[in-house]
């Protein structure tokens, strides 16, 4: 099943399929380790609902839902943190 990183539920994980959006933002996401094929887990959302806290390549990264929307994911079925 394919959906955007924004739609992940806390505790859910998936693999990045592709990253869309603005050039500079996309490059920033790549630099921070969000490349196609990478496993990303959504740890939680901030108390006010945005931004998100992710686990990528063994560290914690925070991005807004706006940016998360452009990251397309394949969800790991039946798996959670």
């Amino acid at each position: 099943m394919e959906k955007s990183l924004k739609e992940l539920l806390p505790g859910e994980a998936g693999v990045v399929v592709r990253v869309e959006g603005d050039h500079a933002v996309r490059r920033r996401l790549f630099d921070m380790g969000i490349t196609p094929g990478t496993e990303v887990a959504l740890r939680k959302t901030a108390p006010l609902g945005d931004p998100l806290e992710l686990t990528v390549r063994g560290y914690e990264l925070s991005i807004r839902k706006d940016e998360a929307e452009s990251v397309l994911m394949k969800i790991n079925e039946g798996e959670s943190l």
């Binding site: 399929v17 592709r18 990253v19 500079a24 933002v25 996309r26 490059r27 920033r28 996401l29 790549f30 630099d31 921070m32 380790g33 490349t35 196609p36 094929g37 990478t38 939680k44 901030a46 108390p47 006010l48 609902g49 945005d50 931004p51 806290e53 990528v56 390549r57 063994g58 560290y59 914690e60 990264l61 925070s62 991005i63 807004r64 940016e67």
Partner: protein, 694 residues
Amino acid sequence: MKFALAGNPNSGKTTLFNALTGSTAHVGNWPGVTVDRREGVYKYADEKVSIVDLPGIYSLSPYTPEEVIARNYILGGEPDLVINIVDATNIERNLYLTTQILESDIPVVIALNMMDIVEKGGVKIDTNALSEKFGAPVVPISALRADGVKVLMETARGEAAKKRDARSPLEASPFAEEFDRLVGLFRDREIPHPVFYAVKALEGDSPDDLTDEQLSREIEEIRGSIRLEPAFEGDMEAAVADARYRYIAEQCARSMDRGANDARFSTSDKIDSVLTHKVLGLPIFFFFMFLVFHFTFAEPMMFTDLLTEDGIPSPGVMLQGWMGDATDAVSEAASAFLEARDASPWVHGLVVDGLLAGVGAVLSFLPQILMLFFFLSIMEDSGYMARAAFLMDRMLRRFGLSGKAFLPLLMGFGCSVPAMMGSRTLNDEKERRLTIMLMPFFSCGAKLPIWSMFAAAIFPNNAGTAVFAIYLIGIVTAIAAAIVLRKTILKGAASVFIMELPAYHLPRIRNLVPHLWEKLRGFVVRATTIIAGATVVIWFLSNFNFRLEMVEANSLESIVGVLGTLAVPIFRPLGFASSPDAWKAVLAIVTGLIAKEMVVSTLGVLYTPGLEGDALEDEGAASALSLALVGAFSPAAAVSFMTFNLLSVPCMAAVATANAEMRSAKWLWITIGFWLLTAWVGSFIVYHLASLFV
């Protein structure tokens, strides 16, 4: 010799820099941008080498000023070697930058930091294997305990004398062949760092000065011939980033033995689950903020009146008292010295009432500036600052700011000076400017005496509400100003928010002390140069008339008095400048531009002549002033007067700090103009609204 220190933010780079250079470090600025440039000296037994601390970066991409600085410095030929610090607890992402640095031709040593923590977690890293793979020595260190630093520097010295062959993960990528041809193009033309530029060319990021049309054509041809995997959809940058991470993962798999799980992460996770908790996160954050302000400004501190009768003042207030005693003592000594030598009144006035009083007034804030900055630094060093931004981002985004701006703005309620200095943590230049421009609207501690005096005199039955209203006017103005500025001169939305949430750790005194000292020194230098100069000018203007004769300070005959009178028409629409006494209120406004504590004392001197200095602090004098104010200000005029003081130029120290933070004369003048304009418009609106109701 010169070594550059490069690495990710939160990799322990600053700790290593401090361990290497000790007290020799000095801070400057990279040309043209507000990014600190630290340089210090490491002493070998027989030689000294200077160490340049590059800004913390994740990549050498051309998208942030920090990255451009680091990239230009590394490639520019100045350093003999790059020490690349890598956080071993977060090795994959840290090595990403390493692969980019290794594409240059400059000698590199990799300092693998926090090895002690990794080993405690049961993970083993074979540094020899890593070193062989990357073609550069890997030295395990602990920057915190200064372990391995000597070995690192000896290795670096040996390495700096050697030539290193550039390496790129792309040599093992699916498009290695095309990449080799690209490198060949740059090599044939004897362009330095051919591998680095070949990668950039591949990514479509050619150097600005590429005028060789033939080369551009050949690059395009090679790029066009590459067939990428479908997942990348023709995106070369994604393919290159992917190749780097793939290569790193492969090397790590070979040289790392990930035993049991890393204990540090779970401790940090536990702390985080409380501090960013869905329900508790925000209350805990506000409680911390309350404590920061309490320890800086409270007099006395909560519950301490149970211990002693008057309670114990907060550290900030206590230090401020000592500072005041010290500057008073200097002032008195100077006064006695001058009197003993029969100095003329103007020399006495210039030195004691002008210079020393002005600098003393500014220095009296030093303890509280220091306290606020101390807490700010602890939050930054511990990793909590990133969480504060995480918690507050949603709230600030609608006003065109990111969560990182919250702390500096909040500090503005204490003092604009450390608050403006704290805006350094924002990485977007426009956002930094916006934050600085909004700062005065967050009513600082020095404005409180104005509010208390007017509230007590004009609104005796609703004093609390009046003060609250002023704070509210400030916040509403800040929101409106942010929205307007974001649509006009600082066009754009809140900067992109892609932020690492570093693992929590205890703040390190060894890092805090140099950082605080740096900031403090900057402020003292400004206080004693720009601010001292300005106070002398102001003293002259308020003590002399146009015939350069000494007159009573701030009187109608003084230059300031004459200019104040001339300025009265500007203020007339604001309601508080219509009586024949209007120049007094205007003069108080003008002195308030220098320092807000001067507003009350100016009003005191002008409206209750004959009562001066300590006499003004007597209850009788205070009520005399109250009576005078009731006579001079209608309620609407009083609110308008307060609003002008709230929104206009906060003080000389803040102007000097804005200047230091903006690094642009043009933007400083825009900012000052913006403050004055906002103050005028704000007061005008408030006066007319208030006239309807009170």
